[in-house]
């Protein structure tokens, strides 16, 4: 009897979710006795809440957000990593006047509310002798590239390097990215998978992550075949942008999804605490685990 797992993506299906879809299409979940249902939300803030409330089993979320969620009392733990590097970047027009971050003085920066763009920007700007007050921040929601392309803002933060850069390229106005981890922000996992804290001993979760690992393996071993599998039942995804994003994301997937680098998580917690985003760095084990291997299946 197959057991159903409900997995909420962080947003609409996109190449960032490739390992999940490959595991699904290749039947790796089924091999583990799981039926996985992937659900797309329109608001990335909802999935963690719904997992915490027990309405879904797993959710795709972001490492930086996890700290805020845990601090707010959501009983969540990270159980796997999907994308192991930051994707976030500060993007400007390649042919624009901004060559270094220092040129941003007096400029306007657009962002899609993610919750901690202040912390990122403050860190990045400080290295170039600027304070947050030297720039104007404006929420542009989902119009990151358009607002940049139309000249309404001088830069955007929260753009994904695998995505917005290609998007701008295709629009004929290439962008220049300043990578957060190169500008003083400690590296982190962009996409992680979270579960309810009490459920970490649920053997289905380990089974799920094992299947996910097989998915990633197949993905990196057979990128072209994987692409075909990805777009097979989803023609709306089959376009040039996704094709490029696919290639750009491949090297960033966690090859060992279950593996946890505890010190790296602690480092980021310290960073956030330092930035005043959280009151204090909490114990890593309270919000991130490596799932135990279980013999009982």
């Amino acid at each position: 009897r197959a057991e159903t797992l409900t997995v909420m993506l962080d947003w609409f299906t996109n190449p960032d979710h490739a390992p999940l879809y490959i595991a699904q299409e290749k039947g790796y979940f089924n091999e583990q006795g799981l039926t996985v249902e992937l659900i797309q939300p329109a608001d990335p803030n909802d999935p963690p809440k719904l997992v915490a409330a027990g309405k879904a089993d797993l959710a795709v979320s972001y490492q930086p957000q996890l700290y805020l969620h845990v601090e707010a009392g959501l009983p969540l733990v990270r159980v796997a990593t999907l994308v192991a590097t930051p994707l976030n970047a500060l993007v400007v027009l390649a042919d624009g006047p901004i060559k270094t971050l220092a040129d941003l003085r007096g400029g306007t920066i657009g962002y899609s509310v993610g919750g901690f763009e202040d912390a990122l920007l403050r860190t990045m700007l400080t290295r170039h002798g600027l304070a947050l007050t030297d720039v104007t921040l404006v929420n542009v929601n989902f119009s990151l590239s358009p607002s940049l392309l139309s000249g309404q803002v001088d830069a955007v933060i929260g753009a994904f390097r695998n995505f917005e850069l290609n998007q701008m390229d295709l629009a004929g106005r290439p962008g220049r990215a300043f990578f957060v981890e190169e500008e003083g922000v400690p590296s982190y996992d962009e996409l992680i998978i979270v579960a309810q804290r009490e459920r970490v001993t649920d053997p289905r979760l380990r089974a799920f992550v094992d299947a996910l690992e097989k998915g990633v393996q197949f993905l990196v071993n057979h990128p072209d075949e994987s692409w075909e599998l990805f777009v097979a039942g989803r023609p709306e995804l089959d376009d040039e942008l996704n094709r490029r994003a696919w290639a750009a994301t491949l090297p960033r997937f966690a090859l060992r999804p279950a593996a946890l680098d505890g010190a790296r998580y602690a480092r980021f917690a310290a960073f956030l605490a330092d930035q005043g985003m959280i009151a204090a760095a909490m114990e890593v084990s309270t919000y991130a685990v490596e799932l135990p291997w279980s013999t009982e299946r």
Partner: protein, 263 residues
Amino acid sequence: MRRLGFLLTFAGIVAAWQGLVSVTGVAPYILPGPLAVGRALVLHAGALLGHAATTAAEIALGLGLGTGLGFASAVAIGYLRPARRWLMPLLVVSQAVPVFAIAPLLVLWLGYGMVSKVAMATLIIYFPIATSFIDGLRRTEPGWLDLARTMTAGRPGAAWACFRHIRIHAGLPALASGVRLGAAIAPIGAIIGEWVGSNAGLGYLMLHANARMKVDLMFAALAVLAVLAVALFVAVDATCRRLLHWLPEGLPTEARTDWEEQR
């Protein structure tokens, strides 16, 4: 003749659109021209139709439920004094709540299926219907009510009989205004409903296309939605007018041409 007028209007809108694009020189990733959108329409015809069917179903259900609920709330608010105190502020507040604030609640209680989307669409449609109808109920000719009161005085249920047979009928024109309005905003209701979490529907397609900057596909979906909206509006408008045939209606210059039918 009327069909020709329709085509002319349509052509005019497309021409205006092309003109706008040409004159402002707006980039195609911000506002694509009709040609690009036409191409996307043809290219993705299958997907568009599929998603349109989903959205149409949500719209129909939302409009139906919204009308039913709006009618019922208006009757409750109009007839029951306590309902006026309790329900009305609640209704007003319900309009001010952004989806993203209650989307998790909706999902929690109604799941990811069509139900939560229809619920959202219903919530959005139903207020205009309810308040229009309430206004209609308020503005009943007092003479009719007096007459009905003398006819039912001293009977149990007299107040309800007057309400049901006089006020509700007298309020129907206002209800029709509300339903017409509801029909016009039903599409956006469904789209916002799809915001709650979905993997089908024109709203999903648009969000998706928007996020991918496939602006031509997004506008193609928008065009389909617009057609849906206008068709729905025209149909609802015609139905309301047929049902309210007893109502003297008309606008200047119309009056002169159809003496025979009118008044």
